[in-house]
Symmetry: C2
Subunit: 379 residues, 2 copies
C-alpha cells in the first residue's frame, strides 16, 4: 500500500533527497565534505533569514532546545516560559533541569499568547533573562506572535527571546534578523523535508553575549565550540554526513524555489484545508492564529479523534492525533515541506469517507470542493 505522511513531522522526504543521502559516504574532514558544509552554511543563513551563523548538530530539535537553555543562562536565573501546549511544557522542563527559576505564562490550549501579557510579566519582574516560546505550537497548531514578542524584548538589553521554530522554520515567514529574535531553533524533519537527525540554532549578537556569561554545563551542545568549528567548515564532533548531504540538496532546492513561493504554497494548502474542514461542519481547534503548516481539527461530537487517525491509516494516510489533554478530541493534518495539492485533496476525500464510517454524516465531496475552490483560484 502507498503510504502518505501528512503528519507534522516527520514529513515526506523527496526521492531526490533520498538519492542525495544514498551517495557513498564522505569523510567528515574531507575537502569534499567541507565544501558541502560551506555551501550549507550559506544556504542556512538564507533559510533563517539571518546574517548569523546557523549552528548544526547531529541530534533532533530537542537537543538544540536544550543548548538554547544551557548556553545562555545560569542556575538561579529567571526565565519566562510561554506554555500553551506540549512543546511549551518542554521549555519549562528544560529550564527546571538546569536550575533556572521559571515564571510560567499559561496559555489555554488552542490560543496564542497575548504580547501585552508578556510585556506585563517582564515589567513586573526585570530579573527575567529569557522568554521561551514556540513560533508554531505543533500540539495546538497555533502560531504565537513572535514578531510582536521580539518588539518587546528588543528594547530590553537584559532579556533574550528564544524561539522554538522546529515545526515553523521554512514553513512560513520568520525573518530572524528583521524581527529581532535572539535564538531560533529548528529541526530537519518538518518544513525542511529531511529525516529526523539534524538540529539547528542561530543566535543574535545579543544572545552570543549571554553565552559569554552562562554557567550551565554543556559539551555536545556547546554553541561557542560549534561556532568555531563551523567557521572552519567543520563540526565540533563527527558530522551526520548522510543527513548533511541531504540537507545540501534540500537547501539548494529551497533557494532555487525561493522562500516566498514556498510560504505561499503552504499558505494556500492551509487555506484550502481549513475551508474544507469548515465545509464539513467541523471546527478548528486553533482559536487564535491558526497555523500555516498544519491544521488542527476538533473531532465532531461522538467521534473519537484517535479513531479518525486510525481509520485513515488503514487507507495509507498518516495524520496526527491530539497530544496530552487534546488526545482523542482533535486530529491534525500537516501541509508543509514535500506535501502538495494532490496529497491534500486525497486526504480530505478520505477524511470525508472515514467521518461517515464513524457516524458523522457529511456530504461526500463537500470539503474537497471547498478546497478545490481555493486551490483553483490561487494557482
Amino acid at each position: 500500500m502507498k503510504r502518505y505522511l501528512m503528519t507534522p513531522g516527520p514529513t515526506p522526504v523527496s526521492p531526490e533527497t533520498q538519492l542525495a543521502m544514498a551517495q557513498p559516504i564522505l569523510h567528515h574532514r574531507s575537502p569534499q565534505f567541507m565544501d558541502i558544509l560551506a555551501k550549507v552554511r550559506e544556504d542556512l543563513k538564507y533559510l533563517f533569514q539571518t546574517e548569523q551563523e546557523v549552528l548544526m548538530f547531529a541530534a533532533t530539535g530537542t537537543g538544540a532546545m536544550e543548548g538554547a537553555v544551557s548556553n545562555t543562562l545560569s542556575p538561579g536565573d529567571t526565565a519566562l516560559v510561554v506554555d500553551g501546549g506540549k512543546f511549551g511544557e518542554r521549555w519549562a522542563e528544560l529550564c527546571e533541569v538546569y536550575g533556572i527559576s521559571i515564571e510560567r505564562l499559561k496559555v489555554e490550549w488552542g490560543h496564542a499568547v497575548k504580547p501585552e501579557e508578556v510585556a506585563q510579566r517582564l515589567k513586573a519582574n526585570p530579573a527575567i533573562k529569557a522568554v521561551f516560546v514556540q513560533a508554531n505550537e505543533t500540539s495546538t497548531a497555533v502560531q504565537h506572535p513572535v514578531k510582536e514578542l521580539a518588539q518587546i524584548t528588543k528594547s530590553l538589553p537584559g532579556t533574550i527571546l528564544v524561539v522554538d521554530a522546529i515545526s515553523a522554520l521554512g514553513g512560513y515567514p520568520l525573518p530572524m534578523d528583521e524581527w529581532g529574535m535572539d535564538i531560533v531553533v529548528a529541526g530537519s524533519q518538518k518544513a525542511m523535508m529531511l529525516p529526523p537527525g539534524l538540529a539547528f540554532a542561530a543566535l543574535s549578537p545579543k544572545a552570543w553575549e549571554f553565552v559569554k556569561t552562562s554557567k550551565c554545563p554543556k559539551y555536545y551542545f556547546d554553541f561557542a565550540k560549534q561556532l568555531k568549528s563551523q567557521q572552519k567548515n567543520q563540526t565540533a564532533y563527527t558530522s551526520a554526513v548522510t543527513l548533511t548531504m541531504g540537507l545540501q540538496q534540500v537547501l539548494s532546492w529551497i533557494r532555487a524555489e525561493g522562500l516566498d513561493k514556498i510560504f505561499a504554497h503552504n499558505r494556500r494548502l492551509s487555506r484550502a484545508a481549513k475551508a474544507a474542514v469548515r465545509a464539513m461542519g467541523l471546527e478548528l481547534y486553533s482559536k487564535d492564529n491558526p497555523s500555516d503548516v498544519l491544521t488542527a481539527v476538533e473531532a465532531p461530537a461522538g467521534v473519537d479523534g484517535q479513531k479518525v487517525v486510525a481509520e485513515l491509516r488503514k487507507r495509507g494516510i498518516w495524520i496526527a492525533g491530539g497530544q496530552a489533554q487534546a488526545k482523542g478530541k482533535i486530529f491534525r493534518i500537516a501541509h508543509m515541506g514535500f506535501i502538495d495539492e494532490l496529497d491534500l485533496l486525497g486526504t480530505l476525500g478520505a477524511l470525508e469517507i472515514v467521518l461517515n464510517d464513524l457516524g458523522y454524516k457529511v456530504e461526500l465531496g463537500i470539503g474537497v470542493k471547498a478546497a478545490q475552490e481555493i486551490l483553483g483560484k490561487e494557482a
Copy 2:
C-alpha cells in the same frame, strides 16, 4: 574516481545499507517503526553481549559519552580518567564541564594503561566513583585492557567502569556482561558500518544504581527517560528514522554472520596489515596491545605522515593521519566494518608506491606479499 574509506570512522557503508536507508520514511510512532525498534533492541543486546537495554540516541558518540558522565555522577564527585590519547582527553573535558573532580592517569601515547596502576589509584583514593577509559584509543590504535580493569572495579561497590567503545564495539570481543563493564558507549560510524548520527550506551545494574543518585543536569541524554521509552519501543524524542532503518539492516547482517566470524575477519586483516608494514621496514606506533580494528604506523624518518595521507588521497584511498601530538608522525589504516581483503591489499600496494614517491625506498610488493601470506593461510 572510486573512493575507498580506510579511515577509522566513518567507515564505508554497504549498498544494502544505503538502500535500507533510502526507503520511504516512516513515522517514528508508527507500528511499523516500533516493530523495527523492537527488533533493533534485541539485536543491539546481541552486539553488546549484554542482557541490559542498549540506549539509542540521535547523536554522535560524544553525546553518549556526555550522558555517561551526566547520568551517573554529581558535581564534586571524583573520577579517574585514563588519558592515553585524544579520546581519553575527551573524558577529562567532559568531567570538568560537569564539576567532577578528576584524577588523571596519564599514559604515554602508543601505550596501554597498566591495570595495577589503576588498582593502586583506586586503593589510594576510595572516593573515586568512576573510571573512564577507551576500549580502543583510536588516536593511538591501542586497546586498553578493559577486561582486567573490570576485574578490579567489579569488587568495588562504589566504583563503576565506563568504557568508550565507539571505535571498538563490533570490531573485536568486548562481552559487556561477561567482563563486567558498567557502561559501554558506542557509535554508528565505525565497526557498525553506518553513517554517523546514532550513539549508544548500555548500563549494568550497578551503573543504573548510580543513575538514581546523580545530580548533574541532563535532558536530551537522560538515560532513565530513554530507557522507559525504549521499553515501549519508542525513543524519548524523535528517532533518527532513516539511520535506524539502516541499523536494523546492519544488525540483521551482523547477527546472521555472527560476531565470532566478524571478529576473526578483522583480526585477520589486522595481522595482515601489521605484517605488511613491518615488511616495509616500518614500525607500529602502538607499542602495547595494537588494535584489531586499525593499524597506526610511524612515518619513516624524513617522511611527513600527513603527506602519506595526502598522496594516497590522490589515488582515491582515504586513510587517517595522526592527531594532536602524533600529527605528521604517523598514519592510520582502518580494517573493520565493511572493509575487506581487496581494500586492504590495494591500500598496501598504493602505500608502497607512495612511500617510494616520498623518498622512502621500499621494494614494491614486499608488504603486499607479507599480507598475502597471512590472508592465504587463514581463509
